[in-house]
Symmetry: C2
Subunit: 333 residues, 2 copies
DNA sequence: CAATTTTTTGGAAGCGCTTCCAATTGTTGG
DNA sequence: CCAACAATTGGAAGCGCTTCCAAAAAATTG
């Protein structure tokens, strides 16, 4: 593998000049530029990225820490981030924290030690305080799917309250009055906000929030199913199940069918997130769109703008959920 | 950030000694080891991974190139790889080729230029010849989901033919005689092999392969739906649709329902891959298990063993598909 | 106990590049 | 045509670590 020395020798210019054309510096004459490029070509020169990093203290790599690498959500997110970074010649180093506090901290250290120029995180186990502290460090950090007011320009989040509100409002508009709600784990910010929105819509329609028609799940499929079992036992009739995410909605659908109920005839179901398999379900799931692709892309752009000083980038932090109407909700007379 | 110099000074030993304890070299006295460790501790020393890479010509990073980062398949794969590498203190640099030849080649160069110690690829657009040539280079390459005989110890693959055979055999055993087949794109090795297995099972049962009950899809959901439309138009009755992957199977289910057919009452459906949403479908999809997690893990282990010389690793290249019986197939009298 | 072997240490040369600084060359205007 | 300045170039020091080599220290042997 040819080095910059050989290029310099072949082109008959100094090391510095070669480095300058390599980095597109100003103040290089057209002539030397040509000579250098020709030499590089002839030698099939490929810069050594590690050496560049060491000398420049820039690794051109961005760390991405997520709870899990699999699942319908994170894949989309990673994909968007990678596309955006790659276009800019940067690359993604990914790692998973598995929603375990220590493991998430390790992941962050791992990425920092790897000299990542910036880090994107989407995790639940670390406290706001920890993240705030982290963001004071020398490695820039951006946060996906979470709003921490103290560092809100580095957060990319959705208006979960609004999403919860819109979902419930729509169902009420379809004539439903007895609503069951299966929430995410309430120690998570998003789960809480979605529930708040639900309550607001209820309030607005003069409907009461009924504790007996509430179940706290964990955002995983199983808890949707279990939730339905639980709710049905109460013997309080409901005509719609509002689920705080699509995974639980799919579990809920299974649960309802276990009890020989048809969807949406006997019970309507709505989800949240609009993960891609919402289409695969039967009936197709009505849900709230969560623009994770767009948000992930923005987080990458924030880094391009603030870390790599790309100037032509627009960054938006707050996103809006949108209702996606499909087949799982019935109009009630 | 403290450097090795400061550690060396504080501990009162030479640079080399510090480096030696850092790398767990033999021939370091217990005494200096203690002194060095104490100094590191006191300074909160963190080795600079870039400098290490430059000096040692080892980056401790493994490149992963996949067609896409999203979708049910790749997420699982990435997850398994990351877990395995992370345990060994290595990390994954991921990039996507989007099934476009040039883009996949770029991806490979990108990873090589990044000084990856090895590369894991799971892609379709590159020819066997290209991959063989690539594997002669100085960066080790392992191949997932593909058998290239010339370099088969670096390939991790499943017996697709057997999978195709077992799926069809099972359906035949359930009494079905008129079988429709929706294949993947036949320029892909796996699609072809699965079809071969299907034909073998047919043969064995003295059933004829019927061109009119065959449709070549593209492994995506839509083509399952389109395939069913296409097949139904032929007015040749069939009682089971065999799909070469789960995505198409889910499309086929949708297609059948569009035509007011019930599954499995009016038509049985079987998939292939056992992606996680096969459980979410209604009815739950009977399918062939594809042990992508296990395979991905093995590919990572191969690298640990052959590149990083871990000795305690067992590597297996060939995997076996298994029938997963769920609800989408009916027994015919 | 001296001679020999083995273990432990330190010195120094890189790894391939960036970047500061000073020197050189070219340009402009009076 | 020369001073004054700007554009361009080269030299050299370093980025933080690994690793080879030889020297020093410790252990072993007859």
């Amino acid at each position: 593998m040819a080095t910059i020395y050989e290029v310099s020798a072949l082109a008959g210019v100094s090391l510095s000049s070669v480095s300058r054309v390599l980095n597109n510096h100003e103040h290089v004459s057209e002539k030397t530029k040509q000579k250098v490029m020709a030499a590089m070509d002839e030698l099939g020169y490929r810069p050594n990225s590690v050496a560049r990093s060491l000398a420049s203290n820039r690794s051109n790599s961005i760390g991405v820490l997520v709870s899990e690498l699999h699942g319908p959500f994170y894949g989309e997110m990673l994909s968007s981030i990678e596309i955006e970074l790659r276009k800019a010649g940067k690359h993604a180093v990914v790692t998973a924290g598995h929603s375990v506090e220590q493991s998430e901290k390790d992941g962050i250290n791992f990425l920092i030690d790897r000299n990542c120029d910036a880090i994107i995180i989407l995790i639940d186990s670390l406290s706001d305080e920890f993240v705030i502290e982290l963001s004071k460090g020398s490695t820039p950090v951006v946060i996906l799917n979470r709003l921490i007011p103290e560092i809100k320009d580095k957060c990319f989040y959705i208006d979960n309250e609004l999403g919860g509100y819109l979902a419930t409002k729509y169902i009420i508009e379809q004539g439903h009055k007895n609503l069951a709600y299966i929430s995410g784990p309430l120690f998570k910010q998003d789960a809480n906000e979605r529930l708040d929105g639900h309550k607001r819509a209820l309030n607005e329609a003069n409907l009461k929030f009924d504790d007996e028609l509430f179940y706290e799940g964990d955002f995983l499929t199983t808890s949707g199913r279990v939730g339905i079992d639980h709710l049905l036992k109460k013997n309080k009739p409901f005509t719609a199940a509002i689920c705080a995410n699509d995974e639980m909605a799919s579990g809920a659908m299974k649960g309802l069918r276990d009890h020989n109920m048809l969807i949406p005839k006997d019970c309507s179901v709505i989800g949240f997130d609009n993960v891609y398999f919402a289409n695969y379900l039967h009936p197709e799931l009505t849900t709230m769109n969560y623009p994770i692709n767009e948000m992930a892309k923005m987080s990458a752009q924030w880094i391009l703008k603030n870390v790599y000083k790309h100037s032509d980038v627009f960054v938006n932090n707050k996103f809006t959920p949108e209702l996606i109407i499909r087949e799982s909700i019935k109009k009630v007379e």
